[in-house]
Symmetry: C2
Subunit: 341 residues, 2 copies
């Protein structure tokens, strides 16, 4: 196939497609032997910061699977160094922040990201990828959302209950809003620069926002996600707004203005459409299903297709990233079933 | 006050009350110095298995706060030894199972709990507590729900994604259903025995069930929670069905037949009532709010009372257990605000 496959972009715009497009969050990752081979030589941050390596990893899943989009290989923490945040990524722990943000003066010392200066390697990788993919599939850029990034900055590392994050939000709203503002401005600039460098769609990952009560989301998060999607409107590329555990937040998240809402397995697509109306949906297979057998994968994938009911604007994906022990044959089978092969 | 305070029981039955009743999940726990003093001398399981200690801890929060109910101090793992499961409870880790359940023959070797034989200390503690509380407040018993207990038995210890649990459910439904059946029979017997020993209400904790898609809940969990609440109907005590992250499961969980639905902070009470109709609701303050200041606690508590709108059948509680670093003065303030003092 030498002609450009625009199925994913058409579905984002809720146009008719010949088959349901599919890509997978973390489609380039540890479940692939060719990825693990590279990771033996390079650490994660080096891979993200070296355009040639980021390009190579981004393309790995496309060589193996009939995916309808590529997503830049990177990490949501990458733009934060440009804000003045030092961090490392520890094996089996995730990001660890050198000096967590705990009060107003911690926020004051943060800068707003200047993408050309702070993350030229991301923009270079996107330019190279766009050339590489010109006759193949669309290229997706991404960033972490303000709440999810704030939770890492405040907790210092991944934390189940997000105690410190909520404590800051509840007891020091001035510091909270200042932090969210700088994050929103940084992410808006970062995503716009990604589009400028060739990204044909962008996804905002608000992975941990499901920890919030709806009223808190509305007051402490929505203005900032809205700001980001507003800034992206001038670019005219499709935007995807993703979170997990967001069953009670979907209507508000939708107000933020993305063209596609990403939902997890806890919310049936038919329920989301009934509530949200005319928006494209991305999802929503439980990633654990990919750790079973091709038969079980097929059953669950067909249920989701049945639930989507051929409605325009469905992009098949998981409800969260591919898990490390996922067998390749299950991914293969999933894509076949979604494409109706 | 020497007359029995039946506010909690009246609210469970959706009868008129003079003030909104309040009790807190894990109201006896590490946030109290008198609890920590006991824990320096005894480990958790010894405290659960020694009626005098369990009674002492159960009563600790009542001596300090104007709570409207007592809940037996115990652990959801306690009845499992009667099924033939060996486990320990490790500091900062939680329950660790000696031989996790992974296949049908692991399920076959499990017995159904015989409460009088397997957990006489629980029944003794309840009898002592009931005498102690006769002129004070109602006594609540509790158990872990089949899904949440199954997830510990299968994972071997707490696990974020519940990968092995879902793998067993999806790939070996026969083993899954056999396990859930034995758990449901054990928990039904255990809770009925608690009522026989003096519990005036019982709560079923399905803390991790929010990890499931609604369809999976319906197929793999609902029949077993239903079985438990059916068995409890003959006792005529109020029953409480609690879980977290259950926004999309509430209607199905309600079908299981408890008299009170426990909800977390992610679902506004008004939303739950609009969807569920005539059922009592328990909740739903985010426990992190108790880690802030008395002023913030007051604001959030008032919002919940406003959302409940004086409707009959509201029992104030947190959306999950009290966190270890909770300041006592914040608990004090919460109870005052809820009682309108």
């Amino acid at each position: 196939m030498n002609s450009f496959n625009d199925r994913f972009l058409r579905a984002c715009r809720r146009e008719a497609v010949d088959r349901t497009p599919i890509w997978l969050m973390r489609q380039a990752g540890r479940y692939m032997p060719e990825y693990r081979a590279l990771r033996e030589k390079w650490d994660l941050l080096t891979m993200c910061r070296t355009p040639e390596l980021a390009v190579e990893v981004t393309l790995q899943p496309l060589a193996r699977f009939d995916l309808d989009a590529a997503i830049l290989f990177s990490d949501i923490m990458i733009p934060l160094r440009g804000m003045g945040i030092e961090f490392e990524i520890r094996e089996n722990v995730g990001p660890v922040i050198a000096e967590p943000v705990r009060e107003e003066r911690d926020v004051e010392r943060l800068r707003v990201v200047n993408p050309e200066q702070d993350v030229p390697f991301v923009l270079d990788a996107l330019k190279m990828l766009r050339r590489e993919l010109e006759t193949r599939v669309p290229l997706i850029g991404f960033a972490g959302a303000p709440f999810t990034l704030a939770s890492y900055l405040i907790e210092g590392q991944g934390a189940r209950e997000l105690v410190r994050t909520k404590q800051l939000m509840y007891t020091n709203p001035a510091a909270w809003h200042a932090l969210m503002n700088k994050l929103a401005d940084s992410i808006a600039a970062y995503l716009c620069a990604q589009v400028g460098a060739g990204a044909q769609a962008v996804q905002l990952f608000d992975s941990w926002v499901g920890a919030l009560a709806p009223r808190d989301y509305h007051q402490f998060v929505l203005p900032y996600t809205q700001k980001i999607f507003d800034a992206l409107k001038v670019t005219d590329v499709p935007t995807i707004h993703f979170g997990t555990g967001t069953a009670m937040l979907l209507e508000m998240m939708n107000e933020a203005g993305a063209s596609v809402m990403g939902i997890d397995w806890r919310v049936p697509l038919s329920n989301a459409w009934a509530r949200l109306g005319d928006v494209a949906l991305q999802g929503n297979l439980d990633p654990v299903v990919l750790l079973t057998t091709p038969q079980v994968v097929e059953t669950h994938a067909r249920r989701i297709l049945h639930d989507a009911h051929g409605r325009r604007g469905h992009i098949f994906n998981l409800g969260h990233g591919v898990l490390p022990n996922t067998p390749l044959e299950n991914v293969e089978r999933l894509i076949q079933v979604v494409h109706g092969d």
